[in-house]
């Protein structure tokens, strides 16, 4: 294994060399897994964008397990156009994972959408344009008005009212639209993956689809809804399959595993394996009433408290859908880590992170 800390890309070998792959967000939860899985799939020349101060230990450890791995770290903040140009120079494939998961609205748009625009503006002209794999999200689908139990697949309409949704959905929807606009204009091969709830060791315990922690009381909002889990390594495999398949160019793929638990089953498993929670189950009809009340209060009080629940948000997050990963399977993806095993690994890791008794 070799690792370069250069702030500018090195010399790119000529024809016949294996592809140089750029991964943005490589030191994040999903990025770390993708590096490991790419190396396991035989890739060797990886360029990783990192921010100063970010943790590189995980990807370095992954590279150490794969002889011949060549990691190149590019210290780049994609909000800077010049950094974006340095990052994409000479690459053959781009996995764009970098995104802001939380923070002020302006920061989330800047770090996700504007950063994406800089990346796209930096793509070289002509035939040498790299293949681009964008990690989007289930949250771009407009499911509020679909009704309970409707199957979400790649034909489900996109969210028509992003401003009514949570900020993450709004940001990811705009990011995806931006990639489509550029792909259409520049003509590069774009593959969009829309994962459900990515989980695994190193990730967070709960998606908001399961519920929300309210000052120590966990509101169990998902109940009997299916939880569209995607074990992090399975999700990485899906990206790799999509990046390698010529047929995937211009296509969208939903990413979720089989044997999906309900939100209640996930919560029960967590409580059995990790720790007990103080929970309050709120059935969907009650949540709908609560959402209407919260929205009315928010309007009456002119925003004195945030509208964390509204009928629209509740319908999108806790309305309850079913999911279809058939298109991804037809492309050749197979779930390597079965869901019970993924859950076991995740809960074991979460338990290991609990504070040790004195």
């Amino acid at each position: 294994m070799t690792a370069s800390g250069a702030t500018a890309p090195g010399v790119i070998p000529g024809g016949g060399a294996p592809p140089r792959i750029l991964i943005t967000g490589a030191t994040g939860f999903l990025g770390g897994s993708l590096v490991e899985r790419l190396l396991a799939h035989g890739e060797r020349r990886l360029r990783l964008t990192v921010r100063s101060g970010s943790r590189r230990a995980r990807v370095l450890a992954a590279a150490a397990r794969h002889p011949g791995a060549e990691l190149e770290f590019v210290d780049a903040n994609l909000v800077s156009p010049s950094d974006a140009r340095r990052a994409v120079e000479g690459v053959d494939v781009i996995y764009h994972l970098a995104a802001s998961l939380r923070g002020a609205p302006a920061d989330m748009f800047l770090n996700t959408v504007v950063a994406s625009k800089n990346l796209l503006d930096a793509l070289p002209a002509g035939a040498g344009r790299p293949r681009v794999v964008l990690v989007s999200s289930f949250s771009v689908y407009g499911v509020a008005e679909l009704g309970r139990g409707v199957v979400v697949d790649e034909h489900t309409p996109l969210e028509p009212h992003p401003q009514k949704r949570d900020l993450y959905a709004h940001v990811k929807l705009r990011q995806e639209r931006l990639f489509r606009e550029y792909a259409e204009r520049l003509g590069f091969p774009l593959v969009v993956l829309r994962p459900g709830v990515i989980y695994g060791p190193g990730g967070s315990a709960f998606s908001s689809r399961v519920g929300l922690d309210l000052f120590g009381l966990f509101l169990n909002l998902g109940g009997p809804n299916l939880l569209p889990l995607s074990f992090v390594d399975n999700c990485s495999d899906a990206m790799i399959v999509a990046a390698r398949a010529q047929a995937a160019g211009g296509e969208v793929y939903n990413v979720n595993d089989d044997e999906l638990p309900t939100c209640a089953e996930y919560l029960a498993g967590y409580e059995r394996s990790v720790r007990h929670l103080r929970t309050l189950r709120i059935p969907y009809p009650a949540l709908s009433l609560l959402s209407r009340a919260v929205e009315r209060y928010h309007t009456w009080s002119r925003g004195q408290l945030p509208a964390i629940f509204t009928p629209y948000k509740s319908a999108t997050t806790w309305g309850g859908n079913r999911f279809d990963n058939g298109k991804l399977k037809r492309l050749g993806w197979r779930q390597e880590v079965p869901t019970p095993e993924g859950l076991r690994r995740t809960f074991d890791w979460l338990r290991s992170q609990l504070p040790k008794p004195p």
């Binding site: 101060g53 903040n77 923070g103 302006a106 748009f109 709004h170 705009r174 009456w300 925003g303 004195q304």
Partner: protein, 400 residues
């Protein structure tokens, strides 16, 4: 390349010269974090104003704001926005480096100005800005929102009633979190505009300390002593390591003295003013929105030690009850001061009344800031002999 908003393409925007009654047309430039607060509070004043457009040099940033707040137009060309929208007021919420040039363009377009703090990059720019506003015959205010928060209003009312007597000394404390929304963005990016300001982190925050002192320290140039240092661990290897995060100030005027504190490490991040009078000490707390008096013992012996805390407890109970009542009325908002300042400014435009914040106060703050940053910079070059342990940036200016 110039791009124009979606609504213009849709054609559903009212004509640019449509001035409906006394409703001010507001435009905003700079769609960063603080801009959200401006738009939200302006939208609570539908009778007085409406936001007609926002602008950012990055069109995507202007677009996201327009979509989230349902605004009719957004631009990446400031000149084009001024020309097409013909706003009555422009809110400038960009980094301070751009305040003066953006203000000049707005004044040339006949607009009044709301400028976020700090007023400009330095005192010379601040003076030029004030002069330009005066020459244009327009009005300007600055984002000193805490001066209009409920506890500040109560403080002024009580002082006017003589609650503290003649003021001897004032203390202004502003706690800051390096891990909050603003601090984390600055720490995450060595290229963040704050790192290129002369006063760096202090430059963007010390207004909050100083603007509460100007109403007590009447002098233009009080004796001023500034000490600053860095407490956060050094590990970035770039501009962020040069960012000091603790600042202590002493000001001595003819009648009144003052302390100022900016701290990034004291937790919780407190925010208060203490007014020390000849009669009482007043504690004005901006976090808990309470104003309490700390009277001395008026009863003899041990009883004199027993009664004061009960009196203070009662004051806090009353403050809590008042806040609770305001909350129940739906009148207890995070940005109360911003809303009141914006409303006062718009009223002063519509009624040609006095400014909510006098320009002299803005200039005194900018002049004091310049002296503070000069002292800190001098301290960097030559640390004062006998300086306290924490301080590469410690400096001292002899009282003038």
């Amino acid at each position: 390349m110039e791009k124009i908003a979606h609504a213009e393409l849709d054609g559903d925007r009212p004509p640019a010269d449509d001035r409906s009654g006394m409703t001010l047309k507001i435009a905003l430039v700079g769609c960063g974090k603080i801009a959200d607060g401006h738009v939200e509070e302006i939208q609570k004043l539908p009778g007085r104003a409406r936001v007609v457009a926002v602008c950012d040099r990055e069109l995507l940033m202007a677009e996201q704001m327009a979509v989230r707040y349902g605004l009719p137009a957004h631009y990446d060309s400031y000149e084009r926005m001024l020309e097409r929208e013909r706003p009555d007021v422009v809110h400038i919420t960009t980094p301070p480096q751009s305040h003066l040039p953006l203000a000049r363009l707005a004044l040339a377009a006949g607009c009044h100005l709301y400028v976020e703090k700090p007023l400009a990059l330095d005192h010379a720019d601040a003076t030029a800005l004030v002069n330009a506003v005066a020459a244009a015959g327009k009005k300007m205010t600055i984002g000193y929102t805490y001066l209009f928060d409920p506890p500040a209003l109560e403080m002024r009312s009580l002082i006017a009633e003589g609650a503290v007597g003649k003021v001897v000394h004032v203390e202004s404390w502003y706690g800051y979190s390096l891990h909050g929304q603003f601090g984390s963005a600055i720490l995450a990016d060595p290229g963040h505009w704050v790192h290129s300001l002369p006063g760096k982190l202090f430059h963007n925050n010390v207004d909050h300390v100083l603007n509460k002192l100007t109403e007590f320290v009447a002098d233009d140039a009080p004796a001023l002593d500034a000490r600053a240092w860095r407490r956060h661990p050094v590990h970035f290897g770039d501009a962020r390591d040069q960012m000091q995060d603790e600042l202590r100030l002493t000001l001595v005027g003819q009648e009144t003295s003052a302390y100022g504190t900016f701290s990034s490490h004291v937790k919780p991040a407190a925010h208060f003013v203490r007014v020390y009078g000849e009669k009482n000490i007043m504690h004005v707390d901006y976090v808990s929105r309470s104003v309490t008096l700390e009277p001395g013992a008026t009863l003899p012996s041990a009883v004199g030690r027993l009664v004061p805390p009960l009196g203070q407890a009662l004051q806090l109970l009353r403050a809590g009850a008042r806040n609770g009542a305001a909350f129940a009325r739906g009148d207890f908002h995070f940005f109360s001061g911003l809303n009141r300042l914006i409303a006062s400014f718009y009223d002063c435009i519509l009624e040609d009344g006095p400014l909510p914040i006098a320009t002299r106060e803005m200039l005194r703050v900018s002049a004091w800031m310049e002296r503070i940053f000069a002292q800190i910079a001098a301290g960097h070059a030559a640390p004062a002999a006998g300086a306290p342990a924490p301080g590469p940036g410690v400096s001292r200016e002899v009282a003038r």
